[in-house]
Subunit: 237 residues, 2 copies
């Protein structure tokens, strides 16, 4: 295998193979569920020993990128949703997993020149895209979503119907999220949020702030308010 270099240092063959596979997935050439070439095929393609291919694919499985089944083949793993605290899924899927109905009220979907939002997306200038949506579980509001989106990453964001598909689902469908940063607060909601979430006066919100990256771009910056009486975060490590 020809040694490619990054800043002068040669990259190990197994690392080059990993990047090749990741590039295929990120470009969309290989989609979730697709079979990827077998070890034997990659051995021929890259001109390396089978152990080397095996290590590359094994590590990608450990990272959750691939699934491997002995006797069957190697498959592209399903997309990971915006992960917050380890594994919070798309709110609609989460509601569906509880056997409940999800609905969404789109309050706003428009361009915005909010300087704070432009800064959060690490852009020089606006406009950026802005949406405000209330998510309902069995008719009860459970999340107030205030989202800013990078138009360079999702140019068609404003043309979507978010009563049918959540923004999170839409974005994950189009681009793989590679990194996320989050902060969690307990907060007294401002009046508008409190009303949209149908909360009693004095009831606190669980507020989740999150930014996600696609490649070198900040893809989205979102604030999610949840009524404490109907929502909490959970996970294991």
């Amino acid at each position: 295998m020809q040694k490619k270099t990054v800043n002068g240092a040669p990259l190990p063959a197994y690392e080059q193979i990993k990047r090749h596979v990741l590039a295929k997935i990120e470009s969309g050439a290989w989609k979730p569920g697709d079979v990827v070439p077998s070890e034997t095929e990659m051995v021929k393609e890259f001109g390396v020993a089978r152990m080397t291919v095996s290590r590359a694919l094994r590590e990608l499985m450990a990272d959750g990128v691939l699934n491997r089944v002995r006797g069957s083949g190697t498959y592209v793993a399903p997309r990971q949703y915006e992960s917050t605290v380890l594994q919070i899924r798309n709110i609609a899927d989460e509601i569906a997993a509880r056997g409940h109905r999800h609905a969404a009220r789109v309050l706003a979907l428009e361009p915005s020149n909010d300087p704070n939002a432009i800064a959060a997306l690490e852009l020089e200038a606006g406009p950026v895209f802005h949406s405000r949506i209330v998510h309902l579980e069995e008719g009860e509001p459970i999340q107030y979503e205030d989202r800013y989106v990078n138009p360079e990453v999702f140019p068609d964001y404003l043309a979507q119907d978010f009563t049918v598909e959540t923004p999170n689902h839409y974005m994950v469908r189009l681009a793989p999220i590679q990194r996320a940063e989050f902060r969690i607060y307990a907060q007294k909601p401002e009046a508008r949020v409190r009303q949209y979430l149908d909360m009693e006066i004095g009831e606190p919100c669980l507020l989740l702030l999150r930014r996600t990256w696609v490649g070198r771009h900040v893809a989205t910056s979102v604030r999610l308010w949840h009524p404490s009486s109907r929502f909490h975060l959970a996970g294991t490590v």
Copy 2:
């Protein structure tokens, strides 16, 4: 290498080596910072190829258990603290990292027969150990810690001085935490918590519930209240 079996299935050699190393660390025979035997030595000890030892040690490094330095050797990694939302550290270390002073007020340290606590620790009967501590940052309360501890795992818990060392630090020092489960809530604090945390009426708490496991035992079940004005959780994925 002699094949050991678990429920009839033979265990791969690299997996046996991993378990051997983990057992050494968990038993305390190898402590954080210690050099562990080199690959060459383990090759002789286990009678396997160097690649096999290499894989075992490489995977343990990926898990954060070992650190490996080319040209130097393989070392036991420092202990991981109770991880909550990915990487929240021991509150005292966190405060120290901000360059601030930590202090603790021990409100209670006693046996308890609270049936909820006994159930949370998955024990048949009590008593279990109970502590309530307020942690202060620069003199301001920042965490109210209500903790139940499994006496089978930490028999000397009640004899400790938690103004000197936090319970988390004490427990991590004695036993490696292997699994954790957490839930995060926004909550109106009860009067007692509000007073100990010196909070204004109406200010919400960020409440973190956590259980941690050592081997098959629930080691501890803890509720951590934080004033929202002075505390939030953060992390990256």
